[in-house]
Amino acid sequence: MAAVAVHQFAPCITCHAWSPDRSMVAFCPNNSEVHIYKLSEDKWEQAHILQKHDQIVSGIDWSSRANRIVTVSHDRNSYVWNYEGSEWVPTLVILRLNRAALCVQWSPQENKFAVGSGAKTVCICYYEQENNWWVSKLIRKRHNSSVTSVAWHPNNILLATTSTDGKCRVFSTFIKGVDTRDSKAGSSSDSKFGEQILQLDLSFSWAFGVNWSPSGNTLAYVGHSSTIYFVDDVGPSPLAQNVAFRDLPLRDVLFISEKVVIGVGFDCNPMVFAADESGMWSFVRFLGERKTSSTGPKYGSQFSEAFGKLYGQSKHSINNDGIDNSRQRGGVHENCITCIVPLGEAGSSTITRFSTSGLDGKVVIWDLESQQDLLEYL
């Protein structure tokens, strides 16, 4: 089985992140707190609760080198938490947002982080030593609707964003004083802050879940019309492919190697997409087993009894056999999967372990070591 470990932490989980040594997990149980659980002797214990936000925490990211947690919430605030002594201490972030923050990600060098918001802006935050706070620069003009997902390119300067207006955009986030101009990087380091490098108008519906490949050559994002888009050679002349599939839409994607992508979404089952030698992407298979149980009509029978009582009929059976009940999708997760996080070492080009969390409150760790047919694609 590809799912190695399943933990039920809460009734519903919004998002999660792992510590650098993978012994602790931070998640939001669909309220304004962040719970941190520690694995000690095969049991998960609650280690800390971070309580500073007023509304639901929509994004958590744990940086791997500096051991800092950044959280963003629907209350327009963000905090960067540092572990001092035995407590997590929040540092103020001047986000300058007037709507909810939807997603967050640390940059590869962890000197900046990007926040996507419902104010149709993206905030890039960096640390100011003199005042001990994080200041932001906003990318204001380009988005026509809420920014649902952000992803950093490995060069620490390019940022891809997806929005509910259906478009994926790539911006340059070069900040003087924080980033250094690298002569080898080429055109990306010549751009000013907030300059739009590329706008991809491939999706007819909302776009979610953007991710770069480990080398930064390929970009993948998901559209709500049950399609996933792959863009190679991001630059002046990109090559785009879209793969449409039969099932429910995806919410998030992850590159586990240059040629394999895992997508998670409303099907409650991770989907594997792979590219062949010629570069054509296609759907390979689902990762978990698919349950096809038809559960008994509990609601139906209660209704028929209720109607019987209302209208004084002693027995009126409602025939349910002709109409099939909806089958429960997916095996391990019981509700939509919202978040997928890699569990390898930071910066490695191939990952075989990753974790998913969903609205059923479970965090599931998947390992592809046992899946021989998929290891060939890596």
Binding site: P11, C12, T14, N30, Q55, I56, S58, H74, D75, R76, N98, R99, A100, L102, G118, A119, K120, N144, S145, S146, T164, D165, G166, S205, W206, H224, L248, P249, R251, F266, T295, P297, Y299, G300, F303, S304, F307, L310, Y311, Q313, H316, I318, N320, G322, I323, D324, N325, S326, R327, Q328, R329, E334, N335, C336, T338, L359
Partner: protein, 166 residues
């Protein structure tokens, strides 16, 4: 007749399985608020195309989806005045107890008899396939009693008309 009912309900079930992909989405218009976008309708990019499924001229089902909410409006067949009154009474009885149902809307959408409003919070608390089962079985169950009550009322009047005239 049973066959077309089954097709109608299967079509509705399949549409609901695709439409009920909802997620938590904070309001873009007002800060710190979270409203069902299908009711608000202020941001057109957040709404999907409504789907109208008609069984015949008198029975139809309108499904409107947005990013965080879904609205299902039903119109049931009312052949004559008596059925009209019975339907109104029965559905008003249900709508007044909308809190117990959680997914029922207190007032039906203009032009329809009954409306459901499902938000992302319902999908988080309850399982999606159970919600769809509930709605389809509700529709199925609501087709039966009205006809039977109507028949029993008509037969009652026929019987007593017979008694009075002979």
């Amino acid at each position: 007749m049973a066959n077309s009912l089954r097709l109608y309900l299967t079509c509705i079930r399949n549409t609901l399985e695709a439409a009920m992909c909802l997620q938590n989405f904070p309001c873009q218009e007002v800060e710190r608020h979270n409203k069902p976008e299908v009711e608000l309708k202020t941001s057109p990019e957040l709404l999907l195309k409504p789907i109208l499924i008609c069984r015949n001229e008198a029975e139809k089902c309108l499904i409107e989806t947005s990013i965080n909410s879904l609205r299902i409006s039903l119109k049931v067949k009312q052949a004559d005045e008596l059925e009209n009154i019975l339907t109104k009474k029965f559905l008003r009885f249900l709508s007044m107890r909308a809190e117990a149902f959680q997914v029922l809307r207190r007032k039906p959408v203009q032009g329809y008899d009954l409306s459901f409003l499902i938000t992302n919070y319902h999908c988080e608390e309850m399982q999606k396939h159970k919600l769809i089962d509930f709605i389809v079985q509700f529709m199925e169950a609501s087709f039966h009693p009205l006809h039977l009550v109507l028949w029993s009322v008509v037969n009652y009047f026929k019987y007593y008309a017979f008694l009075w005239t002979y």
